[in-house]
């Protein structure tokens, strides 16, 4: 009986951990992850600040579109200079495509001149699943109160063409600019586009 109850509890716990908790207008799911430099970051460390979560996979063509063009780095620099915490998160499981050693992450980040606050490693996929991250990129914006205010695509051009960046509506920029000007985020949720997250 005890074994059965333990099994039921374990199943419940697993479901609770892996189910998507992220909801627009709701509290952003808490997490604690190590970055590629070995430093631990808790979401709660950033209370009072705007936080951007960017699901990443360096070799995904949709991610490459935004990094090879310098678009993602420009956004990271522009907003981190304004005090925004920008966290790139990789949920590729160990052994799966997109999972790299810290040395490789740091080397690639340097080569790309990536400028997030930190690159977080989520090998278990628990954080990715709690946010319902399905693609790379998949973007989330959290306000200083810890509320999720935007989730979805980086922009409205779901292609791998660099040329499509110019003229696209960037939802993350739009959300952050609105928030910083004391306005409500107009587009709160969109369909993310990209490669699948390799859980």
């Amino acid at each position: 009986m005890r074994t059965f109850l333990s099994a039921v509890f374990l199943l419940f716990l697993t479901t609770a951990i892996t189910a998507q908790d992220a909801k627009i207008g709701g509290k952003a799911p808490a997490f604690s992850l190590e970055d590629s430099q070995g430093k631990t970051h808790n979401l709660s460390d950033f209370n009072g600040k705007y936080v951007v979560l960017e699901w990443i996979n360096f070799d995904c063509p949709f991610v490459k579109k935004h990094y090879d063009s310098g678009n993602m780095q420009r956004l990271q620099k522009k907003f981190t200079e304004k005090g925004v915490i920008w966290l790139s998160v990789c949920s590729s499981k160990k052994g799966k495509q997109g999972n790299f050693t810290n040395e490789e992450i740091n080397s690639r980040s340097k080569k790309l001149s990536a400028a997030p606050t930190a690159y977080l490693v989520d090998e278990s996929g628990e954080v990715g699943k709690s946010y319902g991250a399905k693609t790379t990129p998949h973007m989330y914006v959290i306000n200083p109160e810890g509320t999720l205010v935007y989730m979805g695509a980086i922009d409205d051009k779901p292609t791998t063409d660099v040329e499509d960046i110019e003229g696209a509506t960037n939802y993350v920029t739009e959300a952050l600019n609105s928030l910083m000007n004391g306005k409500e985020v107009k587009t709160k949720s969109t369909k993310a586009y990209g490669c699948s997250v390799k859980y």
């Binding site: 992220a22 995904c60 399905k134 693609t135 997250v197």
Partner: protein, 271 residues
């Protein structure tokens, strides 16, 4: 005369194959020679390397829909591009819709040409092909449409089996399926009432929304069957409001011999 036919055959067979590591693309014609003034069909055939897959017009949670652009000479007009029913790919939390092994998109073309001759066309297509990693690909394909006079024997079908196979997988547009819905979010139940024409042999296996990003894609949505049809349980994506525009769905049925039949039908939303 035999030489002329041989030239015609060579022209029709002159298909530029664009070879990529994971997908090779080519244009195929249903007929060697098209009769002047008669509509015809071409196919964009993608041969996909084993274990790789590409996407349907609604790619699902990830990926990208194929893009096909055709440049036709004056006198021809594209009627439509028909996309065969996809299959579902599941990987952990991610559900995608697409094709593996090979797929042919069928292009129906209106033909107002009355003069026999050769007419070059170009089809530009792009796709995303995935396995562990995803790679974008594209091809610019050229083809010579050969128009023969009305009174000659033109209807030699060169790719009959290909067209038969892929056309049979293109969803039939029908008003024999009556769609309604219960709920506007969680849950959203799609009720499918169908005419007796379908018979009792057909069993609903899959339902795919044409529009991307409205419903949460799950590996096996709950399908309940009743005396008048089926009910399929969907959930709206987080933060998405049900649009007031009509929504198109694709229904995949199998008969007792496991033969696929698919239909598309439109749901008018009531709020």
């Amino acid at each position: 005369m035999r030489i002329i036919w041989k030239i015609f055959f060579l022209l029709v067979s002159f298909q530029i194959h664009c070879l990529f590591a994971q997908i090779s693309a080519r244009i195929v014609s249903e007929q060697q020679v098209i009769t002047a003034g008669e509509d015809f069909r071409l196919g964009v055939m993608l041969t996909i390397e084993e274990e790789w897959y590409t996407y349907w017009i609604n790619p699902g949670d990830a990926g990208m829909a194929p893009d096909i652009k055709i440049d036709l000479p004056v006198g021809f007009e594209l009627i439509d591009i028909q996309y065969p029913a996809p299959e579902k790919f599941e990987s952990d939390e991610v559900v995608s819709f697409g094709y593996k092994d090979s797929i042919m998109f069928v292009l129906r073309i209106k033909n107002k040409i009355t003069t026999a001759g050769t007419y070059p066309i170009t089809i530009d297509c792009s796709w995303l092909v995935c396995k562990e990693v995803c790679l974008p690909g594209n091809a610019s394909l050229t083809f010579n449409i050969v128009i023969g006079p009305k009174d000659s024997l033109n209807n030699i079908q060169v790719n009959k089996l290909l067209f038969e196979y892929y056309s049979s997988r293109v969803p039939l547009i029908t008003d024999e399926i009556e769609l309604s819905h219960t709920g506007t979010g969680k849950p959203f139940i799609l009720n499918i009432k169908f005419n007796k024409i379908f018979g009792s042999e057909l069993k609903l296996a899959e339902v795919y929304p044409f529009e991307n990003g409205i419903f949460r894609n799950i590996p096996s949505p709950k399908i309940s069957s009743g005396s008048e049809g089926y009910s399929v349980h969907f959930t709206l994506e987080e933060g998405i409001d049900l649009p007031s525009l009509p929504l198109k769905f694709l229904f995949v049925f199998y008969d007792s011999k496991n033969k696929l039949t698919s239909f598309e039908s439109t749901l008018n939303i009531k709020k």
